[in-house]
Symmetry: D3
Subunit: 241 residues, 6 copies
């Protein structure tokens, strides 16, 4: 089984962290094909950079999906997820979508903790789009972005643990998602000091993509007749889907 | 890996159909431990029989969960699901909950087709409880109950296919769940005549239970001090949870 | 007029408290037929014990409903309410349903105060099921269960009054329901120290059951053909409904 | 017990129909004090006439509430209900509010049938305001207004029965409210030809007002210091509330 | 262009403040026709006074709408707005409706700050009626009524600024509406001390009414046949609409 | 006043149609600066092409916003609207957002008619994001895309009129938005055969952008430190915003 793992920002370092963690989870049974966004910002922390990342994710899928069995859109916030599902020949799993589903099957109300203040309203809109807003207890952000946390995780652990604990004790969450590619693997380090279970978003997405490989997506784009300025692979994908 | 598969109604024949299908999906890597409800109705097609089945499912879990790694509540409608999650030492997956999540990750709006008219409003309440009502395009029921369909599937295929097609063409569903233990395996027989993908609820639940084995549930009942008239195993489970 | 008053837990002492209070409200015009659950836990403070109580309430109704004019499901949280309505030959009123309706007709937003921490999310789901979540200002629970409060009400009054006051001053409730069989009659003792009206759930349910006696329920279960392990009365009720 | 029954339109004939029906329900134990709106339209079938009726209902309450134990706002649509509750010294029950609550306690989903096309969206807004929109299956209006139906009920029975039946068979309602003062007493004439129970709104409101007499309202207007052009009784009520 | 500006309370002083501010915004291109309510309370701070103001606004429109091109219902809370839209021959804009739309097009979540405690739940219902409740971060009221603020604005500025700031920092609002005719022009005085943009409701409504002049309303009342006690102009408007 | 009018697809012909219509509405007082997307599909009829268009709209804004007073995102569906608002130095108005607000201020429930089947669920999600889903009566699409309609409008008029009429008579809409750049100016041709008012989305957006020029947006992106593969103007805008 080959998994196309798309990091839609332009930080190859984040892609490496993600690939290492997903390979650990996958074991010998799966090959991970990691790809970094070809254009855009090194981290996504606003609607503007997320909009560009949606295009970059489509571009990456078009270039690399051949011979893969499933696609893991490995950015918490899932930029372009619905668009990728439309055109992909194989199943696509988003990191935030999978994390929210896993959280809902484990408790009544879930919370999200992530880095970067603008992600708060962006993720709230995302959860509304999933239809799960009544299950959401809170979203709490810490000041450093996911990118900054990835570069210096130790100094962020205390803030993340405090935010997770506040989700449980003040907001009534039964379970907390630690969201973000840059936060891969941090959940185990703070679980002991948080009174409710923590879900690592990178792991939740990875488990979901392994389970999704038999699925066929339901919505397909009509082919377009021509295009301007897109990569040849993306133009081809949109024209023959 | 050992999966406790609970059929909370009292039809051992339905349990056999379920176990056969789940064993096919599981392959050699998992042992399926099928259990039939110890009391209640032979099929569940009303709130009254579902209420009794919630107790029967708890009773079955208490008796058989030892040495199992996960629990599959294998009745579409998931009677007692929240109660089982509270007291189970291992993860619990409900057939309808898993099916609705799988449907939401594949399309914008999903529909449910099942047998037995009273299931319509009961499942609508269930979907509202999941928080997914805005994603639900329609629920359509056919007249025979799941139990009757299981005993004579051939005569039901036409009605089921027509209902699934109507969900797509009249209600705007992108994907349809064919719900019910008694309908295990029928999806493949009608897929060709339905314009959108069909999810077999028995399979969706099985895939989810295999993926859920690492999860820990988030809500735990406080122990009760005594009880009357419960099975010894259930009394013990409630008293030491 | 004969009212079947079902206490679906197994504490005969709580049944006695309830019956005394409902008889006071009823006066000479009604006969109260109190029944205690035949099996289950002595108090209900979790989804697991509530699931068993739903079966016990059905069992009690089946055994005792003959010659009664209405049924009062006298447990705040109304375990099995929809199931009882399906099979009962006479109207059924739930304590929590009636309390929430009374609260909504008196103010914009209501709150609930009750005993036992797990009741918080359980009642929130119940209110969502009624469709009244936008009218709900807050649910606040105090640590002792309703059962413990019933055995030592004096030591709980201060905590209950503080919680009711917080619902008004911090959560913006116009009216507070003091919910739970074990809290029968306590509202009058704390009203003076709370700035908004308090509704006693036991009284609200009693008033509603007297008013409901002319109603016919709208949903009826289809009869089942056989069953296993149910009381003869319940099996008969399900088979001939 | 004295009930102030306010008909906020200016048709004394409708007031007489209402008073006769409410007296039948009340029996010897209650005195009905019927009042007709002092100004406004003879029937209410638009937002404009309803806005005027809200003022007229306040005006009537101010003039006649002394010595009464409860107020019945006897117009389906309840113009001014929240305003009356604010200033009334005794409980106020609205015909539509009471009918919707009775419907919700009897079935999963209810429908409303009434006369006058503009009432459709007005009642939909009213039900949203109650928080019960998820329980509403449909609102169907017939062309004649309530006033016209009251003057020639026989010719309307067929249309009303057909609309009620469509609510059940096409819209999935478990119970239908026949709404409107002018439709008092018609429910029994069409029940036999409709497959689900019909609630007469005049009766539902009357039962609720008898049950509400012990309630105190929760929201009180701050007194105003002066006013222009209001009746002396209304000016006094607003200034001393 | 002639704008009928209706102040539906009976304070001519507030009308003067409003007219001055709207004339500044309008410049030479529009003539403002200010009208004060003919009956009712000098300020609106409860549902009861708002109900009377709905009638007064209709009465004012009927008397003065001839030769006007649009109507500005210049009271934050928009009493009678839907009724005015029904019967007006020209477009009608409500101050609160226009302010909420302007806020939604500028940020994710908006808040409202106004004077008079009862306006809190009244405005919450208003926003629910607009369908915008998910966009509403908070409503905060200060103790003085809008009328009192208009008479002594300097002493209120500190409280208003603190409330606006709390909406941003505690409630997460991106933009705050300073609502109320009596607060016209105060936004500029407190903007410097508030971390998010403030919308002056009087200005937002004025901009909207200038833009709305080409619109035709969609819902029209059926004419009534006679009426009692209404002004001749209002009776005529209702009878010939 | 200079308005930057962005057509985010790559059809210069559609840009010309839009610019002509907006210039008619603007008159002499405004200069329209029309821009066509630099890359992407010639028409947008799927989530994939919309995702690319969001990037193209950002790219166009970055290149051309200097010296403009406001931005009109002139594509019904508003790809990238929230992202543009974040980074724009001047107000941004989306065609669909403005149309839905105009519709809501004119009637209770609105409908949308547009070209291209996939736009149905995409626009439904858009309306949910605005918070206006309870006001939406229906979305009906006709088979030709907006692009095809623009090239041969005459043959589409009948289908569009029929869809608008069905929104009114079957779905209960009070007002219908004829949505899409390619449908500019068609509303007047079909209004006579449709029983409710029709809003031309191009005009509604144009009116809103003229009114919005004094607004400041509320949410601002944090600057990014570097980027890959973006146009110099866009990289600069993201880095200095």
């Amino acid at each position: 089984m080959r998994i196309l793992m798309i990091n839609p920002n332009t930080s190859a370092g984040v892609t490496d962290i993600l690939a290492a963690r997903v390979r650990e989870i996958a074991g010998a049974g799966a090959t991970i094909v990691p790809v970094t966004g070809r254009f855009g910002a090194p981290y996504i922390a606003s609607r503007a950079t997320a909009a560009i990342a949606g295009h970059a994710a489509l571009d990456a899928l078009a270039e690399h999906v051949a011979d893969c069995d499933a696609v893991y859109l490995a950015c918490f916030g899932d930029p372009g997820l619905a668009a990728l599902k439309e055109v992909s020949p194989v199943p696509v799993v988003g990191m935030a979508e999978a994390s929210c589903q896993a959280a809902c099957s484990r408790g009544d109300r879930f919370a999200i903790v992530t880095g970067g203040a603008l992600w708060g309203p962006m993720l709230e809109e995302f959860v509304i789009g999933l239809g799960l807003s009544d299950r959401l207890a809170a979203i709490r952000t810490v000041a450093p972005t996911g990118d900054e946390i990835a570069r210096d995780p130790d100094s962020a652990l205390g803030h993340l643990a405090a935010a997770c604990t506040a989700c449980a004790t003040e907001d009534g969450a039964d379970v907390v998602i630690l969201g973000g590619a840059g936060l891969a693997g941090l959940a185990v380090h703070i679980q002991a000091s948080v009174p409710v279970p923590i879900i690592c978003s990178v792991e939740a997405g990875a488990h979901a993509v392994f389970a999704a490989r038999h699925r066929v997506q339901c919505i397909k784009s009509p082919p377009i007749k021509d295009s301007i300025g897109l990569s040849p692979a993306l133009a081809k994908l949109l024209g023959i889907a």
